[in-house]
Every structure is written in structure tokens, then in C-alpha cells.
């Protein structure tokens, strides 16, 4: 049911309540480490499968230390998988030149790039999921402000985060009302889809306006206003950050598996 999806939306965020060494790290450290990890991961040559593999250590280690259920993250990655696979499959068809022969079978450059795209997508998506699952949303946006990310971007993130639940909630109520009055309960008929989506947009806007009014009544004004005071990272946090970034960069400069 759509209603359950509203709760699912915030399952990752709810995991950020745990008290583990990863959760206790300063949010700025996690953001910076995730950012560097993603940059380094996507910087690899599109045929360099071996170079990317050691980076699997990072999400695996964080997941284990932060006690984040693997299946939960994997199920969410599967949503992004078709998009990545589509991009990779195109390479498979266009780039048919043989890279090497493995056990009598020719491995094309297209296949290598497909594998690399999937691996890199997995690593980047997992890194972001882990960041969300180990850091409360308010700490994330607060820290992004500290990094001088443009206020309008942060506002957009906050609004999407808040209103996505509203949209799904409205869709859920409308869907239930529709099903209760439809002859079969196989979902919304295509001929009604236009008015359903139109009504959903209007109702969501209306509801969004009321929520925004409620936010303003409680002092919400603009993205840079009144964010809570917070302490900076400790020496230990900075050390962890330095070690992580150094490890990412070293693995990039000295690809371990290539050397073996």
C-alpha cells in the first residue's frame, strides 16, 4: 500500500538514531569523507575494474561498524540499478572490441565498462545511503551550511525531504478513495490517470502551503536563518577524516590489485 511507503521513506533517517562509533563521528567528517570517496571512485578509467574493487572495503566496514542492515541498503540500491544498467548496456553494444580472453571467452571493453559502471554506482549510492543512515537530517543540512553550500540548494533539499512525505500521503488517500469506488481494484485506470495526477498536484500544493504556513509560524524564515549553534569536529574526528581521505587517495594512486 502507498501509505506504508511514507514510513519507508524515512527508514534510513530513523537509523541515524543509533549510538555507534560511526554515528558519533562529526557530521562534517562524514560528509567530507563521502564526498572524497565519490570523487575518487568516479575518477577511475571506465575499464579499470580492478582499481575500483578495493573501495568495497569502505561501505562494508562502515555498514558493519554502524550496524546498518545490508539488505535494507541493497533493496534501495536496486531502485537505482536499472538506470545504471541502461547506461552500461549501451556501452556493451557499442564497444565490442576484445579487451582480453578469459577461459576461452572474449571479454569486450564494453563488458568491462558495464561492470565498472555498476560497481561505481553501487559504491557511490551506498556511500550516500550510509551517510544518511548514520547522520540525522538536521545535522546534515546544518553542516552543509558550514561548508558554505549555497543556501538555495539546502532549502531545496529540505523542502524535497519534507514534502515528499506529503505528496505520498495525499496520493495514498486518493488511491484508497478511488479503489473503494472502482469496479475492480487493480489500481487507477489510465483514462483516470490525468485527472488523478492533476488533483494530486493541486491537493499537494494546497497542503504544502498549509505546512509552509505552520513552519513560518514557528520561526522558519530562510535557509541561513537561525540554524543551531554546534561544536566543530574533535581532534579524533579530524584524525579519522584524515586517515579515510588518505586511504582513498593512496588506493587511487597505488592501485593494490594492479600491483599483485
Amino acid at each position: 500500500m502507498i501509505a506504508n511507503r511514507v514510513h519507508d521513506l524515512y527508514v534510513l533517517e530513523n537509523l541515524s538514531d543509533k549510538d555507534t562509533p560511526i554515528h558519533r563521528l562529526h557530521p562534517g567528517v562524514k560528509i567530507l569523507a563521502t564526498f572524497v570517496f565519490i570523487i575518487v571512485t568516479v575518477s577511475f578509467n571506465r575499464y579499470d575494474v580492478l582499481g575500483v574493487v578495493p573501495y568495497f572495503l569502505y561501505p562494508t566496514l562502515v555498514m558493519s561498524l554502524a550496524e546498518i542492515p545490508y539488505k535494507l541498503l541493497l533493496s534501495r540500491f536496486l531502485i537505482a540499478l536499472p538506470f545504471c544498467a541502461f547506461a552500461g548496456v549501451t556501452n556493451l553494444l557499442l564497444d565490442r572490441q576484445t579487451a582480453f580472453v578469459l577461459g576461452g571467452a572474449a571479454v569486450s571493453f564494453g563488458l568491462l565498462s558495464l561492470i565498472t559502471i555498476l560497481l561505481r554506482a553501487y559504491l557511490c549510492v551506498m556511500a550516500v545511503f550510509l551517510l544518511i543512515a548514520t547522520t540525522p537530517f538536521t545535522s546534515l543540512t546544518r553542516e552543509l551550511r558550514r561548508f558554505h553550500v549555497p543556501a538555495v540548494f539546502i532549502l531545496l533539499i529540505e523542502m524535497i525531504y519534507r514534502y515528499i512525505g506529503v505528496l505520498v500521503d495525499e496520493a495514498s488517500s486518493m488511491s484508497i478513495a478511488y479503489k473503494l469506488r472502482s469496479v475492480d481494484s487493480k489500481g487507477i485506470a489510465m483514462k483516470h490517470m490525468g485527472s488523478f495526477v492533476g488533483q494530486l498536484a493541486i491537493r499537494s500544493m494546497d497542503r504544502g502551503e498549509r505546512i509552509y504556513a505552520a513552519m513560518m509560524c514557528r520561526g522558519y524564515s530562510q535557509p541561513t536563518h537561525g540554524h543551531p549553534s554546534h561544536s566543530g569536529p574533535s581532534i579524533a574526528d579530524i584524525c579519522v577524516c584524515a586517515v579515510l581521505i588518505a586511504a582513498f587517495l593512496l588506493l587511487r594512486v597505488f592501485p593494490v590489485l594492479h600491483m599483485l
Binding site: N14, D169, R210, M216, C217, R218, G219, S221, H227, S229
Partner: protein, 247 residues
Amino acid sequence: MHDTRKPKQSVETHEHPHERGPVSIDINNITVKYSDGTAPLRDISLHLNAGETVALIGSNGAGKTSLLLALVGILLPEKGSIAIGDVPVDKEHMLTVRRKVGLVFQNPDDQLFMPKIYDDIAFGPRNFGHGEEEVREKVAAVLSALGISHLSNRSSLKLSGGEKRVCAIASVLVMNPRVLLFDEPTAFLDREAKARFLGILAGLGQTRIIATHDPDFAKTVADRVVVLKDGRIARDSPASEGSVTLL
């Protein structure tokens, strides 16, 4: 006239610690118009003494919600003026007004939009620049005072109507407002939840305006009953005086 603009930052945002008591409200001949020309409020004048409770009653579309929204500056009057104590409700003093006035919306779902109740209640104090430790203390205090500490880590999606209502009240009380506005507070409530709400209301010392379409409820909770009809005040009398109808 929906004011979606940001309040100016230059205005004083922190009140003196001794300014904690209820304040008076002065509404001087205000008219509010929407951009399409319809006027939900016309020539409204009303004075509330500090600590007074007024019930605003009227049928659907009478202008009750519009008046409450005008009091917090969400709707700005085309003519006339509103003052909360000595602070005028205008763009220049918006943050001060919103610090002083708390509005509990008709539908608690409009007020509870964060993943957890704790974050919903902490939303206001965080916006007003309180440190995280202070926010934690304030939230814990209000949760405890309203007897809902067990809901702190719950999602509002999983709460009953009565629980949501109390959480919405908590999200306003945590800011320690000097004026409290309630829009149809008994909507969605069963008898038990309504009785609980009355108990909470009795323990509050702020100046209060309660919009309702229930005349009996109005007489129970208010010192004075103001009847709105077609955007105008049709009657203003003590709650003890005669029977109240929606006219």
C-alpha cells in the same frame, strides 16, 4: 495577500527573559483581502486583555481561520492594524511576533511534518537559534509536562488523532509563546481526547483565542465569545451571557 516572504533579519529576535507573561491583543479595524479580491475579514476590531480567553465561533467560511492567520502575520491586512502587546504585526516585526504568538493548526498533520515527534517539537526552538543542548532540555520539559515523553521517537504517521493534537500543541508550547491561538482544536477528537485537551487548556496561562464552531465548547473554555459571520463580528459578549448560536 498570502505573505510568503521572509521576515526581515534586522529586527530584534530575542525577548528579555522577564517578558514571559501573557500580553494583550489589539485588532484595529482590519480588512484582509485575497489576491482575487474576496475579503475573508472586513472591518474587524477586537481587544483582548492579557490572559483573557476568547472563543471565536462561526460557521464554515466565517473568517475564523483567516483572523488567526492575520494574528501571526501569514495574512497581512490591507487596512487597519494588529498589535501583540506593544509589537505591531507587520513585516518588520515578524520574527518577534512569531516568537510571541503560537498557532495550533486545525489539522495536526499540517503541523507535524518531520520524521519524528522530537524533531517536530524541536523545529521552532532550532529556528529561533537555540543551541542543541537547550533544545533538548526544552523538548524534554514540554513532552513531560504534556505526558507524551513516550512519543518522542515515534513518527506522527503512527499516532492517533488525539496524540497528534497533543504533539501539535507541544510543538507550539515549546516556544513559550505569550499568546496561543487554536484553530478548531476539538476537530478529530473523541470525548476522552477532548477532555484531555480541556485539561491541558486549563493549565495554560497565555492569552488565548480558540476558533471553533461548537458553541457549547466555546462557553466551557472562554471568558468571552465572539461570533463571526461573513468576515465581520456579529456579536461580542461574555461567555456567561445567554445562549450562543452561530447566527
